[in-house]
């Protein structure tokens, strides 16, 4: 029984260690936050989908209330501007790029955010 416990704990610690070395790779994962204009759940899905469609983006989370998008991506595979331009291309203004007017005009009526 004690032997088993030892095996289990060492296994756990070992995996813990490997995952710790995993976090050393964090340099391959940058977290960035920026402002993206939008209003509703549908905007959220569209923005996150657009961000995730960029190769190298691992996570995208847009908060409706603060309008802040948090992205985690691999800088070797894409740049922050790749993500921002992709989001603008699907109709959402952000702090660097403005969405093309025709794309904005075609957004669902509930998604028509106020442009600044």
């Amino acid at each position: 029984m004690t032997k088993l416990l030892i095996i289990a704990t060492s296994l756990f610690l070992q995996i813990q260690m490997t995952t710790n070395t995993g976090t050393l790779e964090v340099s391959k994962n940058i977290t960035e936050k920026f402002w993206v204009n939008g209003v509703c759940d549908m905007c959220q899905t569209r923005i996150q989908k657009a961000a995730l469609s960029v190769k190298g983006v691992k996570m995208a989370n847009w908060d409706i209330e603060s309008k802040i998008l948090t992205v985690i991506f691999n800088p070797e595979k894409c740049t922050l501007n790749d993500i921002k331009s992709k989001i603008a291309a699907v109709g959402h203004d952000n702090d660097t790029f403005k969405a093309p007017d025709d794309v904005y005009d075609q957004l669902h009526f509930c998604c028509k955010y106020e442009r600044i």
Partner: protein, 749 residues
């Protein structure tokens, strides 16, 4: 003068320039202490101007008089908007999302719901739903739910059995906070060992289920969450008494110790000392006895490093006496003067969980679960003694991350289970060890769109069976916004515990035959089954009322089954399935809000299980094929003082059941081929006087439906015709109960 004006015009903007940043500090409360917090988003409303707090919680943001509202947001905390009319130093404290919204959340949260999200069709029963019945223990929590049937195993022991999709509880996996909880020697008694007031919520998912919790589930998984000390801070008292003399006390106290640590102690006691025999068959309707059940749990949450640890320690002692009214254990135990039975169970459990989410990579997490359980049952039934002792050890490690991005998630890990059984029926030793070790991988696809997939595979090595794989697949397709189609297929395997799962064998004087004796537990092969299912959820709005319709069909096919055959009135035969065994289950349920506060649930269920017995391909005995269910729940509007009335009523129609062949018996001990259908009704009224105090009164089996003389040959319990296993209706008649609940919340939070 003009010179001064020019000078002033030149300098003034610079003067302003020097003032154009706004500074401040953001903190959060940990216990009663304010702690600065990093990475908080600070943004001027309707602008792109945005910054984040540093390690000290400090921020600096460009100021202009055009901006007048600052939005402060952080994941897990309530987003605040601060009106700014002039430059001041901001000192703001964020509040946790749940604590602030507690009151409103409780009202919004539905008591019962099914969701379009998630790959599995799962029904969630929240506190509100659980309060609809007295819910003395877990088995009674399902009274207001049509998916689960609760029946008695026999006329004497008072043991309840839970069924879903037409399959009884051993085929349904019960997890306590995602750790397999009610299994092995605890399989049936275990439902009576989880007091209702300890349960916070129950999630029922039908069909194959996830591979994370092992290979044992066949018809579905039920997970119950116990009260958490960090959210139930304070003291709670519940008293209950029923017409037949059952008394219950539940008392618990939870406390926060410092910033991260919380603990709770939960005590349950029940007792029934009055002997009742309403059907005048000389046998107790309900066993007498008492239970003491104590749980102590500790939670440690390190929000900075995202560690979460939970430890549960439990001790239980349960003593029951059943049998004839005049039976006195001191004089008559194991004699043929009076038929009697005593069951003493002692149980100890330790559950440990540790989990970590990587703060900078929120999609990555790992968890480790461990459980040690000791169960010791000492019992006799008439002239048979039965003892079982189980020592059980369980480890499970889960690692979760992503493939390319968060649309593709995976979970993988390793599990270990060891069950050491010491089991004796009279002088026969059935002791054995079941040990399994395995690994699993589960892939999940969900892009927030119409389609999601969950595909799992595990490989395990079981000492009595060897290596085997357990594949499981779930699909979800949201056809329209309010229409979701789900399908699942999966395999399950389990080792039967024939005596624990079939206590009704002991309530007969039939001879018992275990056929096919060979390797494995009791010389029987493990049970293997495939389960497939499809269901459609449609939600709608009728006027301004919400409603939903769920239609589902599940099919289970056994590759091997341990068949317990009561078809010969002199004998119980237990053997490996030779031929076919299937279970079909079709259910339609409708949930509809009728008026403000009034909800209705209607369901129709058709379950059909057919097995190749020695005497032929027959429908499973003592199981109703059809069940109709109606539940009405009405809540008055909550007054300012949090006073409220709750009314709840459930009406069931249980269809006819096939009764095993009794034609070998003398005519006075023969039963018809089919039982008649009957109605069952339960109702409860609950009165909340304030947030802290409520009382309730309720009734079970209000139509007084009973099975008259449920025991064959009850006057001669030592004759070969004695049989208390033929149960198709309640033994107890109508029963009224009352109770109260009182809680004091610690004001420090």
């Amino acid at each position: 003068m003009s010179k001064f004006l020019i000078w002033g015009m030149l300098v003034f903007p610079y003067f302003l320039w020097g003032q154009t940043t706004l500074q401040g500090k953001i903190s959060v409360l940990e216990g009663n202490e304010k702690v600065p917090i990093q990475w908080v988003d600070v943004r001027w409303m309707d602008t792109k101007i945005y910054t984040q707090t540093d390690v000290n919680g400090a921020f600096e943001i460009k100021y202009s008089s055009d901006h007048n509202a600052l939005i402060i947001s952080h994941l897990g905390y309530k987003t605040d908007t601060i009106q700014i009319s002039k430059i001041t130093n901001i000192d703001h404290t964020l509040t946790l999302n749940n604590t602030l919204n507690e009151v409103t959340l409780v009202q919004k949260k539905k008591d019962f719901y099914v969701s379009h999200a998630g790959v599995n069709l799962s029904e969630v029963l929240n506190k509100g739903e659980l309060l609809k019945a007295a819910c003395c223990n877990l088995s009674e929590s399902f009274e207001t739910n049509p998916s689960i049937d609760v029946t008695f195993t026999d006329a004497v022991t008072g043991i309840k059995q839970i069924q879903m999709l037409g399959l009884s509880s051993p085929y349904l996996q019960f997890n306590q906070e995602n750790i397999p909880g009610i299994r092995g020697a605890n399989q049936l008694y275990g439902f009576g060992f989880i007091p209702g007031t300890w349960v916070e919520s129950i999630q029922i998912s039908k069909g194959a289920g996830s591979v994370l919790n092992g290979y044992e589930s066949i018809s579905g998984q039920v997970n119950f969450e116990l009260k958490k000390p960090e959210t139930s801070d304070g003291a709670f008292l519940n008293l209950y008494a029923s017409q037949n003399g059952r008394m219950e006390v539940n008392a618990d106290y939870s406390h926060l110790i410092g910033k991260h640590l919380s603990t709770g102690i939960f005590i349950h006691g029940n007792s029934l000392q009055i002997k009742n025999d309403h059907n005048e068959d000389g046998f107790l309707d309900t066993p007498i006895g008492q239970q003491i059940n104590v749980m102590n749990r500790w939670n440690y949450d390190d929000t900075h490093h995202n560690w979460h640890t939970s430890l549960i320690l439990r001790y239980l002692k349960d003593e029951r006496q059943a049998g004839q009214m005049d039976f006195n254990p001191d004089q008559h135990a194991l004699t043929s003067i009076y038929w009697g039975s005593e069951t003493d169970i002692e149980k100890m459990d330790t559950y440990f969980k540790i989990g970590k989410v990587f703060p900078d990579l929120p999609y990555k997490s790992m968890g480790f679960q461990a459980n040690y359980s000791y169960h010791n049952q000492d019992s006799y039934y008439g002239l048979n003694t039965y003892k079982i002792k189980q020592n059980s050890l369980y480890f499970n490690y889960i690692y979760q991350s992503i493939l390319t991005n968060t649309n593709h998630k995976f979970k993988t890990g390793l599990s270990f289970t060891r069950d050491l059984y010491k089991e004796y029926l009279n002088t026969t030793d059935y002791s054995r060890t079941d040990q399994s070790i395995g690994g699993f991988f589960e892939y999940n696809y969900d892009n927030g769109g119409k389609l999601s997939i969950n595909a799992g595979l595990r490989g395990d090595h079981l000492n009595t069976w060897g290596f085997f794989v357990t594949p499981r697949l779930h699909l979800r397709y949201q056809i329209y916004e309010k229409t979701t189609l789900r399908a699942s297929i999966g395999r399950g395997l389990r080792t039967a515990n024939i005596w624990v799962e079939n206590p009704q064998i002991f309530i007969t004087n039939r001879s018992v035959d275990i056929l096919n004796s060979g390797d494995g537990s009791y010389g029987l092969k493990p049970e293997i089954a495939w389960n497939t299912g499809i269901n459609l959820l449609q939600t709608y709005r009728l006027g301004d009322r919400n409603g939903s319709i769920t239609t589902e069909y599940y099919f289970t096919r056994f590759m091997n089954q341990v068949v317990v055959d009561f078809e010969n009135a002199r004998k119980v035969s237990i053997y490996n399935l030779d031929g076919k065994s299937v279970a079909h289950s079709f259910q339609v349920s409708l949930n509809q809000e009728i008026a403000k506060g009034l909800e209705m649930r209607i369901a129709f269920k058709n379950t059909f299980q057919k097995t190749d017995y020695l005497s032929g391909y027959l429908q499973k005995p003592l199981q109703a094929q059809q069940r109709y269910f109606v539940n009405l729940a009405y809540k008055t509007t909550l007054t300012e003082k949090n006073a409220q009335w709750h009314f709840d009523a459930t009406l069931n129609h249980v269809g006819k059941m096939r009764i095993p062949d009794t034609s070998m018996n003398p005519s006075n001990f023969q039963l018809p081929t089919f039982s008649n259908g009957y109605f069952l009704m339960n109702a409860q009224i609950n009165r909340n006087f304030s947030k802290n105090f409520s009382t309730y009164i309720g009734g079970e089996n209000l139509l007084n439906t009973t099975q008259h003389h449920p025991i064959l040959a009850h006057n001669s319990p030592f004759s070969s015709y004695f049989d208390g296993s033929m149960i198709y209706a309640p033994i107890d008649g109508s029963m009224i109960y009352i109770g109260l609940r009182y809680n004091i919340t610690n004001s420090s939070r």
